[in-house]
Subunit: 242 residues, 6 copies
């Protein structure tokens, strides 16, 4: 069983963290690797970044299909390009927001999301709505740390942890969802300090893909998520056409 | 990691089927067993049956806690007593409707539920609403086979399969959710005949529990799902008090 | 016209209060009595308590049917076992949360619920959703008084009244719904002090049952709420089977 | 206790029927009368009719207040002018759509509305939404009989009954709501033929008002439903000003 | 292209302001005038006022139809009588709440409404729900200035502006919707001081009507919004009948 | 006032049709042109196509900003990249699905969407939900004509017209929304044959942009839709970075 985690930004250090967190939970029979997108933004902090991360992500899926990968994790909390990736892949493709929210919904009446910049809160709210999680998602909170500073800023862990504590208090929630792939290695620390379960989407999505593969559940191959109809593409995206 | 599947009706043959289907997907490090409720109805086909299955289910959870069980699957599609069971258990308790619907929501835009008797359709609709699955659940269809006849009636498999085919057609759905624990061993056959992915809740819930345990996610132990406050109980339920 | 109020906990003092409040509003042609459950928890303060109050409640309904009772009030704000009780009874069965919320919805744009323990807030929210009252229910507030302390704690009335005052202020609501059968005799005092109408579910449900009987409205007897299919029951719940 | 039923159209024959149906259910201590609007349309079959029925309705409420009436029923299924009437009256004002839908919601999982002209279906849907009844209202069906023809057309009763039968079949509903005050005397016949409970809003609203009065529930007198601020009115509505 | 703005209260000074604001945005080919209602309340500050403004409004529409007006703006934020006006008019009729909210929904994730008296907040909330704007409308705030004082009170502009500033802060909204036709000439000042786009419904509705006329979009003339069926009217509303 | 319509697919013939339809409704003071995307798919018929149309679209917006364009229409019914385009542009950016649905919502109680391929129905449903149009959108119907065949297939106009007729019948809707930019020139024909108003999103969006510019409404420039934070981009999308 081959699972590939795709980091849709181009920062390899972040891919390394993500890969470590995914491997920590994958089962013994699972071959797991993580790849970094080869084109697009260094981090995803706006709708613009997110939209422009999708071609690189889709290219990674296409390579994965050629290499026999069975399922994919999209390791960005905006779940960029999820529908398009599902058309392309034969097996499951799971976004970390989707997996984290649905996992957290099993842990009590409601969860709080803690994310990076305030400008991404709207996207997280859209996803909560789309995934049917509105009644479980009690609040989405930003700690105003840029994505790449999660790694480089020595105060970042403390700030995120404090934001989680405040979120649980304000929302009276039963769990925290970490709203950025770059927070994947913070869950143990936050849980220890805040005292509620903390869901990292990278780990959650890895197990969701693994479970779907174990269950033998693949898309039906017809309808909305069938392979996209072939057609010519133009310009610097020419290689995406057929 | 010890996972226990609780069959909240008192029919041991059904427990055997359930156990087999759960074991087929559990990971190598998982000790899984299934138990039959020791009090209550022989099958669950009404709100009355469901309500009266809960004491036996809670007794089974309490025994499980004493024996060091880490997580539980509630193997009835009405997810009876789920909130109460969560108060009692230290680890995750997952209902098969909850797990099946959330799993199916990863497979496309919408799923159809196929269940036993028409009178249980309302309960399934309530659960879809409660789990945030209303936008994914495109229809709930009854095949009017009593629960225990799934095993004894030689035509049952054919009737369920045909109901699934019609449901997918009518709802234009991407997946089937089997709406009864007693259908757990039908998923391969239905998938082969209907051509869309088929989710059995017993298997789905087993992997959901296993994933939550792997992720180290346990309820926070405070608030709504903390252990119930101790108090005296009266009459034939006296043993449930403290 | 015979109406029976069922107190699903086993505390007779509370039944007495409930009966007095119900009788105070019943019409001259109505024979009303209240009964105490014969098995289950002394008070209902958790999902566990609530689930385990249902068998005693259903036994009381069954006795009522044998004695020719025409309609029932379920006197616990969690409306435990409502669907099951409706299958069992030929006439109307009304929960006090259901009746109180629908009554309060006639009084303005929105109401606040004031209940006992914070851990029961989630259940009240589920019921508001289920009864279509989400747009009317502006807040659910706990005063952290255990159910039986409503009677025994000399400060309880003052604390509940103050919680109601704060709730109306915070929610800008037009009415209060008292969120516990044990608060039934507080409505006059709260109304006097807070200055908005106060709905006690016991009285509201009594009149709802009486109205349904006057209107000749009984369930249709087919479909979801028809009598439950007969079947054997096992163990200490054996007597519930047929 | 004085309850007045206001027929907001100007057809006295319809008022007579309405009054008879309301009296049939009112309690022994209730003084009930019905009045006909003194200005406006002969029947209410459009948004235009409905809007123009409101001044006559409000004039009737004002007269009622001067005469010491305690509560009011608005006897048109569009519940015209309900919010304005509530500002004007000290006691409860209940629309028949509101009362009928909330009453029917106690009878099972869902009801069907059967109304007169197809062009009024939209208004009924708006009201179902507003009253939180969307999940209970399974369908709204027109029988295309003008309001006044309910009385004059000898085939009307048969056509309405048949529409009810078809509605229950199509919607798999547990009850019928009669969607016009002019159908008030049809409920027994429809119930006998269709076999599900049938709710006439005139009777249901009468008992709702009587119950609110028995419970001593009056609006708080502040906020949105306080008496309207006094001001001059112009033209043929001059008398509505102060 | 003839567009008429109808002020449904009877205050001519307010009509003048409204007309100026509407003219400022109308295109060169648009003939625009504004008329004052000839019967009803001097201002609209309650459900009562609003209901009683509708006959005057409908009379104005009828005169407009006779004079060949192509489309109408209803210049009161309660959008009084909108459905009835649409039945009467052959061309588009647009309320200022409807136009303002839909326009503001194009400007970001959410808007705040700032209105006059607190007692009108409920009506604005009803309209937001009806127009599908609930997810865009982040708050409705009253500044407790009576409608006519917007013009006469020298502090009014400052108070409204400050209420807008606080609303944007509290709701984290992207735009302001001015919740009263009498605020039409405040938009530039508020925008300058608060720093977010400010939508005046009079101007927005004028351009919505103009756009619908340019697109050749008129109601279909059948179904719910067809001309109301002719019938006799009684009393001082006699002239509305046929 | 300069408005640019961006065709996010690379088919110039379609751009010509779109430009003609937009020009037909633009006001005399509006300079309008249409541009074709320079990279991406020849037509947009899948999530994959849509995602890969976004870079070309964003490049067109960036060029427009450099050239002093005031506002933009996104001429694809999937409204691709709308949020990202709004971050990039100083003035309004309006999608044709957004404009068409909001315009149609003014025309009655509900509309039907008629689109090209069945696989795009899900996207249209997502947009209806996102724009608050769920209660107005009564159905989304595919006519199974590929986008470019709308122009090349001689039967296409007839098939679309027939699909519109069937949609209005099935949904009992008051208007049609044409669900593809390639249908822009079909609205007159469909209206003539089906007898309800028909909304072409290209024309509707053009007037929406023009109205927003006339009203002086531009995004606030802070928060979610502020200019995206600058950062390096990699690979063939390098030029999108800073």
């Amino acid at each position: 069983m081959r699972i590939r985690v795709v980091n849709p930004n181009t920062s390899r250090a972040m891919t390394d963290t993500i890969e470590r967190c995914a491997r920590a939970v994958a089962g013994p029979g699972t071959l797991l690797d993580a790849v970094t997108s080869e084109m697009g933004p260094a981090s995803i902090e706006s709708h613009y970044d997110e939209a422009l991360s999708v071609p690189g992500l889709l290219a990674a899926i296409r390579r994965g299909e050629a290499e026999g990968v069975d399922g994919y994790v999209l390791a960005c909390f905006g779940d960029p390009g999820l529908d398009a990736a599902r058309e392309l892949a034969g097996g499951p493709v799971i976004g970390i927001a989707e997996a984290a929210m649905r996992t957290a919904a099993h842990l009590g009446r409601g969860f709080s999301v803690v994310t990076t910049l305030g400008r991404t809160v709207g996207r997280a709210a859209d996803l909560a709505e789309r995934y049917g999680m509105r009644r479980f998602c009690r609040g989405i909170h930003a700690c105003e740390i840029p994505v790449l500073a999660l790694d480089s800023d020595p105060d970042a862990r403390e700030i995120v942890t404090e934001a989680c504590r405040e979120a649980v208090e304000a929302d009276r929630s039963d769990a925290i969802v970490l709203g950025c792939a770059g927070m994947a290695d913070l869950s143990a620390q936050v849980r220890a300090k805040v005292g509620v379960p903390v869901v990292d989407g990278v780990a959650a999505a890895t197990l969701t893909v693994q479970s779907l593969l174990t269950l033998g559940l693949r898309k039906s191959g017809r309808g909305e998520f069938a392979a996209p109809p072939p057609k010519p593409f133009t310009g610097s995206l020419r290689s995406f056409g057929t």
